[in-house]
Amino acid sequence: MNEMNNELVPQNDPERMVPATSEAPEQRLLFTPPIDIYESEEGLVLVADLPGVTLENLELQVQDNKLTLFGRVNRYVPEGMLGQHEEYGVGDFLRSFILSDEVDHERINAKLNNGVLKVVLPKVERTEPRKINIDEGE
């Protein structure tokens, strides 16, 4: 567990209801999307399943050392059904992660493809140790 804490820690974002706002009077469901995290040559790679999320509806944000992804899913089932059987709920996706100092925040890049988000988190390049000259005091 400690090893994982060093680099990328998924935060617990329990499933909960988003408070209704004036622009969206209906209650929206919020889900935690399943993710993979693996190491590659480019750095850590984060993959998240966000079915139904489009580029316009996806927000990816780094603030301080917290990476947050939020994908909005607009209701895609027409009203007026006579009956329904649901195995999954339709709602938005939210999950956040704590980044370690090893991640180069400036070079984070992301792609969204067929409802799958892939974020590459490159590691900060290690700089060579620099010798510091010490002048002899008088």
Binding site: M4, P14, T32, P34, G83, E87, G115
Partner: protein, 147 residues
Amino acid sequence: MPVFRWGNAWDAFRDLEREVDRLMGSMNFTPQGVRLGRTFPAVNFYEYEDHFLLTAELPGMTKSDLDLSIAQGVLTLKGDRRADEVSDNNYRRSERYRGQWQRNLNLPDRVIEEGLKAELVNGLLKITLPKAPEVTPRQIPIQEGGE
């Protein structure tokens, strides 16, 4: 003068709740709400006046990874969800479904099989199945037994 009120009786409970939340929050286990350990893909089924609508979450799948067929009132969806080529040792976390999958769905009513329409957009599959027009009930003549 302190007066007992039911409203106050719950405060202790709320403190406990908060304390437990705090403890849980500090642990790093899989959060609830993660769509884990369930059938892949999850399918929703809706009935309308003249058609059925089936939706399934298939993130990362493309048309060519997907195989749909219908026979005798059973709709079969199958496919293969390939993962990136990563050695298992490099995984820090693996929650997403990988590999082959298949779902066989019994349709509750007759549908016009030729009229099926399917679209896959942003990892969401939508299949529209028009209902077959009601077949008029056919009377079955009963013959009198015996001589």
